[in-house]
Every structure is written in C-alpha cells, then in structure tokens.
Symmetry: C2
Subunit: 355 residues, 2 copies
Amino acid sequence: MYKITTLPGDGIGPEVIAGAVQVLNAVRERTGIEFAITEAPFGGNAYDQTGTPLPEATLRQCLASNAVLMGAVGGPKWDNLPVHLRPEVGALLPLRKKLAVFANIRPSMVFSSLVDASTLKREVVEGLDLVVIRELTGGLYFGEKRREQLPQGGFRVIETLEYSTEEIERVARFAFELARKRSGRLTSVDKANVLESSRLWREVVSGLAAEYPDVELSHILVDNCAMQLVRYPKQFDVMLTENMFGDILSDQASQLTGSIGMLPSASLGGQVGLYEPIHGSAPDIAGQNIANPIATIMSVAMMLRYSLDSEEGAALVERAVSSVLGEGYRTIDIMQPGMTQLGTSEMSRLIAQRV
Amino acid sequence: MYKITTLPGDGIGPEVIAGAVQVLNAVRERTGIEFAITEAPFGGNAYDQTGTPLPEATLRQCLASNAVLMGAVGGPKWDNLPVHLRPEVGALLPLRKKLAVFANIRPSMVFSSLVDASTLKREVVEGLDLVVIRELTGGLYFGEKRREQLPQGGFRVIETLEYSTEEIERVARFAFELARKRSGRLTSVDKANVLESSRLWREVVSGLAAEYPDVELSHILVDNCAMQLVRYPKQFDVMLTENMFGDILSDQASQLTGSIGMLPSASLGGQVGLYEPIHGSAPDIAGQNIANPIATIMSVAMMLRYSLDSEEGAALVERAVSSVLGEGYRTIDIMQPGMTQLGTSEMSRLIAQRV
Ligand SMILES: CC(C)[C@H](C(=O)O)[C@@H](O)C(=O)O
Ligand SMILES: CC(C)[C@H](C(=O)O)[C@@H](O)C(=O)O
C-alpha cells in the first residue's frame, strides 16, 4: 500500500492536482495498484492558514510517504513577505532539502501533434526529446547569504556557492545511468573556464566516465549551451548540470517545445520522490477551469514509474494522454483550429476515462 | 589624435581584426578623423611568446589608449595550462577589471536580409532589436575561489558572489540612460525569489526608477527570462543583468538572430572602451580566410560612436555593411542560394570600399 501526499499549493495548483488525482484513481481501477492519498497545506495558502508556508505536519506527512505530488506555489500575494515566509524560500527549497531529492529530472519532448506550437521552425524541434538532470539541493541557492551595511552608505551582499565531490558524483551517476538507458549520450554543462566549482564538476564527471564505457560523455560551457539549445537542440539527449544553470537551461529547453503546460518533472535521490509540473502557479488564470492539467498528469506517470514501481500504470497514463491529443482535444493554451477545446476538469476526466 | 590598441588574439582573431582595420582606415579617409593604431600580443599567442597571456606592456598600452579593439582569445592548445595562465582567466577577465569596463553592451538585432538564418520562425524574430547590458566586473566570476581537501576524501569548493549597491547602481544608470534613448523600456533580470544579491539588485534598480520617470521599468526572473526569449523575444528592448546571467542570456539572445558572426559588443564605464565581436576564436576555421569579419567591423562602428565621438563614422560603417549585404554578398556562415560568397579579406575590402 503506497502512501502519496498531494500538495495542491497556490494558483492553478489545486485544479491541476484534482485532475491528476482523477487519473490516478483510474489507474488504480485498471491495475489494482494500492495507494492512499492524503492532501496537505503547502505554500502561500499554508501561510495564510497557519502562519508558515511549510507546516511541520506537512513536512512529517511528506517524509512518511512514498511520493509527493505537488501542484505549484507562489503568487504576488506573498511576494512581499519576509523572505523566509515566502513560498519559494520558505517551503519549496526546504522541502527539496529535507526530502534530499538531489536529482531533478526534466524531460523536454515535443508532442508530434503540437509541433507547430513551438516558436522554432518545425525541422528544428520535430522529434525533440531531451532530459535535463539538474542538481537540486546544492550550489548558490542553498549557500550562505549575508548582507552588510557599508560605512559609506549602501550595502554589500556576499553569497557562497559550494559543491563537494560527493554531491557532484551522486547526481552525475544518476545522469550516466539515465544516459545508458536512453541514447548513450551525456552532455555535462559547466563554466569551467571561469568557476572553480565547475572545474571540480568537470573533474568528477570525467572521472566517472571510465565506469560507463557505453556512455559517450561530452562537456559544454553554459553560455555556449544556451546558444546550442537555440541553434540545434536535437544534438542533446541527457544533459547534466548544477542547480542554477539547470534552473535556467531547463526552462529554456522546455519553452523550445512550445507547450510547457505539458511537461512534468521528478525530483529523486532520497527515500521519497517529489513530482511536479514544470509550469508555475499562474495566479492570473487560477479558478477559471482553463489550466492545462497534462503536465501534472504526466508527472503522475513519472511517479508511477519511479516511486510506485508501476511501469504498467505509467504507460497507461502516457498512452491515454497521447490518444486524447490524437483525437483532437485541447486546453486553451494549446488550442488549434479544428480541434475541440476542453476545460481543466473535462480534460482530466477524459484522460482518466481513456486510462 | 585618438589612440587605438588592437589585440588580435587567437584563432580567427587576427583575420577579423585585419579586416576591421581596413574599414577603420577607410573611415579616416572619408571623415578626416585622426587616430594611431598599435597592435599588442594578448591571449594564447602572448603566452606562447612571453609566458603570460596578458603581458605588462600590453596592459600599459591598453590603459594609455582611448579604445581597445579585440579579436578573440583561447583555444584547445591552452585549455590545460594552470588556470591563471589560460587566456580567459589570465587575460580577458583581468583586462576587463583593469579597464574598469563594468557595462557590457550586447545588441542582438536581426538583419532583414538574414532573417531566414534564424532557427526561429520569421514572425517571431523579424525586426528583433534588443540590447543586453551585462554587469562585467563583479559577481561570481570575480569572487574568491577556494578548494579544500576533505578528510573523508574528495574536495569541497567554495566560491563567493559579491555585489554592492554602488556596483549595481552604476551599471543600472547606464541601462536607464540607454533605455531613455531607445524605446523607454527597461527589463531588469534577477533571481530575487532565491538570491540575496538579486534582492539587492532589484532594490537598487527600483530605487533609481524615480529619477527616470520616462523609462518603464519591469523585473523578470532569470529562468522565466530564458523562456520568454524563446517564446516572444520582441517583448524586450533594453535588458539589464548581473555578470553570470548576462553571460548566458546574451549568448542565447544573440543566437536567436541566427547570425552571431554579425554581432558586436562594447564594454564601457572606465576611461578606455573595449570592443569585441561576440563570437569566439573558432580555432577550427582559423587561417582559412572564411571567418565573417562583420561582427568585428560592427564593433568598430560602436568604437567610433562611444570612444571616438564619431557618430558620422559609425553610421558610415553601419550603412556600408547594410549595403554590401543588400547587394547579396555573404561569407560562408550566412551564405544563401543565389548570393555571392566572399572570403574574410574580400568581404572586409568591399565594406571598406563602400565606406
Ligand atoms: C520557485 C523557484 C525557487 C524554483 C527554483 O528556482 O528552483 C523554480 O524556478 C523551479 O525551477 O523549480
Ligand atoms: C571567455 C569567457 C571568460 C567570457 C565570459 O564568460 O565573460 C565569454 O564567455 C564572454 O561572454 O565574453
């Protein structure tokens, strides 16, 4: 009996999570897989209810689960709180750290029925299918932060970026293993011509290559990588990067597909997996039943595969999504002439039915 | 009498600098502007000749000039030297610091005759014309770097990122002034939801807004910015960012145009301006007379405008480039069916003639 915690969060989070739960229940009926779902407050709404964006009880609940399925957090309402109470720094970053999910997996794939939604030319993105592995619990985002008042007026901020051999090695192994299961190509991204942490990164990654003779490893500088993702994105298969570079490049990569409302993510490495759509909380469209639930539903597929040991369930979900798209159903963000437009709950129900 | 130092550097650097000097001489003949050009060793070739990539004499020479025109530095030949002897860390970064050029100006514009060279759809990039102002002498690239051996084996690297109110303010003023001369729109990029330096960045930039009531200021998170540059790049006009984000985003932005062989840059803020094409040293095509000299020639136009006080000269160069492209002349990197292909020196000569 698997335990799943859902964290609907803010903005469109509750709507897309509700849709994903419908699909999950359909998988239970089809496959007989057993799980219990418990919802917990998290993010801005948790702050509103309890005074903290990550209540102790929520954290305990997550740690006692097999998997956590998150919607999205944040919104202008909480942007002016003291930093440690904001949803991002007060809830999301500490949750990642406590769950010890050091490997964030972000696939960017172009759905063949949606290739024209990309701003890039068809031939540049058709068939695009890459995965960014982003280190998620180290680096600048988790370093010490200090602000000093200067005698002459104004401030100086000093932040630190730290990485150890061990932190690099564990996420790099993750990427090598994934590359082995896919095309056998791994591109490690760094800024080794300037940063010492990048030089350590490159040394450690290169040092592992001998253990994975079937994987073809290459290195690319982060600035060149941002160019190559525009110029010829299909050159990449599995990409490995530290936290901040991964934040930027994975968002860039996802936008290449033209349909970020479709893209899931998984954060792994600890006892409990964390799954979330890559899109944000989109407060401007919250509560209107127009958000695309597919990114969250695809995150459920990743959860079934990586935390609930159900390749069968994952494949059912992925096929259901493909077939609904193939039949011409769309949410407004991916609407095209001649297709049938559905709301969040109708789209979710249809995918659940197809499962 | 202006003093110009050229630093041809490595790879294709000497070829494109030779072309740019031809054009500069043509500007002298046309306008009567007076200058003296002195060449100095810099980068990998300086290391080969003198044992250091930034010889004292070169630095002194640059500091005594009105403007420095650089080609490109680096190449695999020097990648395994001790860090402080490599062209990037041993020459380029210290040159920027000593010249105190804290504001790096990188325009990305799509030439109408080359719009199809972009991997993005015509309607997404046609008419694109944005400028990234990148802070160039602070942040992580110039912070302290420490590597420690750990008792249990392996290493830990600790680097620091520092920014002060003053460093942010001076580059922000630069961006506000430029925005005022252009569309009046300024977008400041940061990661204020996570980094303390970004929060200071946002405070300082916001604090200046009252002094520039004619400029419409907005803020965007760096990850979202990387997405928006793919989704709808024409929303941007002047963009302002710290050093590392600017490194990544300006390269991404330049690649949107499809012709990075055309894009110049200027680094300003000190007594002496530093001008360079944004492309690298491209060792694989060095010495073949096929490199595109236009990025360096366009850098000459920026030099005429910002350091030699010759708007007339700048306009002459820009018009000459446009007219040569309009007549159908191309280097191989931007070659299209029906056009006439030229080598580096032929293209440079033709542009010099049109001046
Ligand atoms: C909200 C923010 C803290 C977060 C991050 O930067 O990690 C987000 O951008 C992401 O990529 O998941
Ligand atoms: C070569 C390198 C040090 C440099 C930088 O990162 O600043 C380059 O990428 C640039 O953008 O000019």
